[in-house]
């Protein structure tokens, strides 16, 4: 049984974090699986994360209201300069988050932040403001494990979201339906659980919502708000935007929708109608508790059942952050200071060393994630990223190999090199935090036992590692 417990805890830390080193795993095996679940959950909410907090947040230039006449040469020059600044800040922001994932001592909170980034998917390509993207990311980090209503209310008034789905330009005369529709379809209810009339009513309720970019705060403009009576999801009243959100998240279909999505990302994909969701909605409960739902997910027998545990593919960001963490690399693919592979996560010193420059050849984890289709802070659209088959095709097979090669050739592989050839496959499995290799992978890797870099590059592309 200890082997099974060890394997289960390794699975938990891959799903609820970015994997564990072998020695970290050994330390936890004695206390058992349930204790490990409580440990990952303890990293939610306001738990301290000194290593993560020590990763230096990029400095953002203050927002400047365009002053030159639109279309003038001055306006164009100002815009070009501002575009450059935003691009640089976004690159720094991507590196910051990836470094945070690598060094964090509260991995579930980072993983949940990534989950919410995919759920309330907001793209910097349209928002074009790195500080707003940062503020939204912090919102997911601080409020992501509490009640879903409080989170949704806060996201609705988040600057990045308001620019992304145009809520900030909603006016009484002809309300814009963008936020109203996607809020229901993608954030709270799911397609088919609302009508076009509900979209129109919700859009009316969000009129008057604006955002003060200079002060980074939501502002309500009564003169632009539609105070009329609205009928929304079979309720009638003079609803404002907050009322609309409250009604939506408290619909029973919303519980199934949100819980199914959490299960899908931490366990394996299911639809809201899947019976497993019925097992979990009780934990979500009237307070719409995300943390309680996560506990129920990790403790559900199907989470680690032999037949279902192979049901999830790593998304590129978690694949890369997990591999870098295991290999002692930072987001620039440079060695974490003082962090040998077996010595555990890097300390604050390594994190503080984070600059905004890329590695020697410009290859960084965010660049690799972008190539693989998951640019941090830039999902393809408001639907976020898909799962499993979405990440499996010929191109991702090729790009994963390229990423694996880039990681392996920069890693400190002492732990593998010191092992005799006969133990090297086991040493690589230990290093990467997985149980081991099946016969097919073992046979394929054996000819390269004498070449640790090649061995690790290949191992990172093996199905055993590509699965979450």
């Amino acid at each position: 049984m200890p082997d099974q417990i060890r394997s289960d805890i390794a699975l938990l830390y891959r799903r609820a974090g970015f994997g564990l080193h072998a020695d970290e795993l050994d330390q936890r095996t004695g206390a058992g699986y349930e204790a490990a679940v409580e440990e990952v959950l303890a990293g939610l909410g306001n738990a301290p994360d000194p290593a993560g907090d020590a990763v230096e947040v990029p400095v953002f230039a203050p927002y400047e209201q365009p002053t030159a006449a639109k279309g003038s040469p001055e306006a164009l020059a100002t815009r070009k300069a501002a575009d450059r600044t935003v691009d640089e800040e976004l690159v720094a922001l991507q590196l910051w988050w990836l470094d945070r994932m690598i060094v964090t001592s509260t991995p579930l909170r980072e993983k949940l932040t990534l989950f919410w980034h995919g759920h309330f998917a907001t793209g910097a390509a349209k928002v074009r403001d790195a500080k707003l993207m940062y503020l939204q990311n912090q919102l997911f980090r601080t409020a992501g494990a509490g009640g879903f209503e409080a989170l949704t209310q806060a996201v609705a008034k988040d600057g990045a979201m308001m620019l992304w789905l145009d809520t900030a330009t909603d006016k009484k005369a002809d309300p814009n339906e963008n936020f109203a529709r996607e809020m229901m379809e993608l954030f709270t209810l799911g397609v088919g659980n609302y009508t076009q009339a509900d979209v129109v009513a919700a859009a009316q309720a969000f009129t008057g919502w604006t955002y003060n970019r200079a002060e980074y705060r939501y502002v309500f403009r009564p003169a632009q708000h539609d105070y009329g009576v609205k009928t929304y999801l079979d309720h009638t009243g003079t609803f404002n935007g907050e009322d609309i959100l409250s009604i939506a998240v408290n619909e029973s279909v919303s519980a199934h929708f949100v819980v199914a999505k959490l299960w899908s990302h931490f366990a394996y994909p299911v639809s809201p109608a899947d019976p497993i969701v019925d097992d979990l909605v009780g934990a979500y409960g009237p307070s719409l508790s995300v943390a309680a739902t996560l506990r129920a997910i990790f403790l559900h027998p199907a989470f680690r059942s032999p037949t279902r545990r192979g049901g999830l593919i790593k998304q590129p960001i978690e694949y890369l952050a997990g591999a870098a963490r295991a290999l002692g690399l930072d987001a620039r693919l440079e060695p974490q200071d003082g962090a040998a592979g077996a010595a555990g996560p890097a300390g604050p010193a390594a994190a503080a060393a984070s600059a905004t420059t890329a590695g020697p050849d410009g290859v960084t984890l965010p660049v690799l994630a972008t190539v693989l289709g998951q640019a941090p802070f830039n999902p393809p659209n408001v639907g976020g990223w898909g799962q499993n088959a979405y990440w499996l095709d010929t191109a991702t097979a090729q790009l994963r190999l390229e990423a694996a090669a880039a990681l392996a050739r920069r890693a400190d592989l002492t732990q593998v090199e010191v092992a005799p050839a006969s133990d090297r496959l086991a040493a690589v499995a230990q290093l990467l935090g997985i149980d081991g290799w099946g016969p097919t992978t073992t046979a394929a890797l054996s000819p390269e036992l004498g070449h640790p870099v090649k061995l690790v590059a290949l191992a990172l592309t093996a199905p055993e590692y590509v699965l979450a």
Partner: protein
């Protein structure tokens, strides 16, 4: 530290990929995706009759059809009314007080219609008889959801967009050659996923793997469909072995597939070149000119969801479409394969005639689409222009041309396959090619 393997260290690439690929909306077909999260019922598929004998092999089909077909997916819902502008209709100007184009701004193509000012290359193609416009394309009870509507377009299943992609169904019925359909970009849209087969995704005209021969041999062995590999593990390995097969076939093309000629090379930075359409089409042109047997290519352009500040954003995107397609046609060689190439655009929906107060438009329904090529019967409209005064209950345009008629036309005339077997019913073809 790795004296043991100087070769691999030296040969591993210093940049991860030639180009960055644009992502798509779509989740995979089948149970492994999160498509089920949409909560749509998985209805019996109307094309179940397809389970019968396979349709003609693609080599037979290639002999009788034009092809290849190059599909351009316009993600986000392109505003049809400001693409092919009904500038002669007073209802258009009434609905678009700020977004409407005046007659002097647009490129007249007759019938009271005109092209967006950014479509200058398309106007030339129209005048040369190489651009056809299919008007009012749609389906009954249009979905206003990006995701459901795009699934509907990509599956040709107008009920709820469930099931395999329509190109995927053609792949299911025609063997397993991974060169039959190629998508440019790192992820594969539902369009190209069948129940058992899926298209190839590539990011450039050649596949170069890192490492020395021993490393590559080990990578190949790693893709073995071992009995210890089931479900997702088997799928991971299957993608790897398909990658190696495609690499082999690309290397064996009659002439080398390289990107040359008059097309601009996109900058290899993560932001600007994230799937620039010109770069994707450059790859397609290279493959066609090299003699690739591929019958269908898919490329894409995103960000058409113009709820706010539409004029600036749509014009920028249409200019990119215009210039990329024009350059693509110019880059095609003179061989019969290149001469017969047909480009077709589609988007998940058009946009609402009535503009909103944000300088944009909300989700709509029917829209026109473009078909371009030297063999296209162009300079003509197919289908009727939708009425701006007989809108549906949501204030959107009603369709006049069933989207399956468009697919039937390209399946029969370009891909060379019986459309009934793919579409599960007979839809009149349109004669634009």
């Amino acid at each position: 530290m790795d004296d043991a393997n100087p070769t691999v260290t030296a040969e591993l690439p210093r940049t991860p990929a030639r180009r960055i690929s644009r992502r798509r909306f779509l989740l995979g077909a089948g149970a492994t995706g999160v498509a089920g999260l949409a909560g749509a019922a998985f209805l019996a598929r109307p094309w179940d009759a397809l389970a019968g004998p396979a349709s003609p092999s693609h080599s037979d089909a290639a002999a009788s059809a034009a092809g290849p077909l190059v599909l351009i997916t316009l993600y986000g819902g392109n505003d049809g009314l400001n693409t092919v502008v009904p500038y002669g209709d007073s209802a258009y100007h009434a609905a678009r007080p700020t977004l409407g184009y005046s007659p002097s701004q647009v490129l007249d193509i007759g019938d009271g219609l005109a092209l967006n000012p950014q479509l200058k290359g398309f106007q030339s193609l129209w005048n040369a008889g190489q651009l056809a416009i299919v008007r009012g394309v749609g389906y009954p009870n249009p979905s206003l959801s990006h995701f459901e509507a795009m699934d509907i377009w990509q599956t040709a299943n107008p009920v709820d967009g469930s099931g395999a992609g329509w190109v995927g169904r053609w792949l299911d019925a025609t063997g397993d050659d991974p060169m039959r359909a190629i998508s440019i970009g790192a992820t594969l849209p539902l369009l190209l996923r069948g129940d058992t087969q899926s298209a190839t995704a590539i990011t450039g005209p050649r596949i170069t793997l890192p490492g020395d021969p021993a490393f590559q041999q080990a990578f190949a062995a790693l893709q073995d469909p071992g009995s210890d590999r089931v479900e997702l593990s088997a799928l991971v390995a299957a993608c790897g072995s398909e990658l190696l097969e495609v690499q082999k076939q690309l290397d064996a093309l009659p002439s080398p597939a390289s990107v040359t000629g008059g097309m601009a090379t996109p900058a290899a930075t993560s932001e600007t070149a994230a799937g620039a359409l010109s770069g994707q089409l450059q790859t397609v042109a290279a493959l066609i000119n090299a003699g690739a047997p591929t019958k269908l290519y898919q490329v894409s352009l995103a960000s058409f969801d113009t709820h706010a500040d539409e004029k600036t954003n749509q014009e920028r995107l249409l200019a990119e479409l215009d210039q990329s397609v024009t350059a693509f046609l110019a880059a095609l060689g003179t061989g019969s394969h290149a001469r017969n190439a047909v480009v077709m655009t589609y988007s998940e929906f058009g946009r609402r005639p009535l503009e909103n107060a944000s300088g944009g438009t909300d989700h709509g329904a029917a829209a026109p689409l473009f078909v371009v090529g030297r063999t296209v019967h162009g300079g003509k409209f197919y289908g009727e222009e939708p009425s701006l005064t007989a809108l549906d209950a949501n204030g959107n345009l009603r369709y006049n041309t069933d989207f399956r008629s468009v697919y039937a036309t390209v399946l029969e005339r370009v891909i060379g396959v019986d459309p009934v077997s793919i579409l599960g019913g007979k839809y009149p073809t349109l004669g634009f090619v």
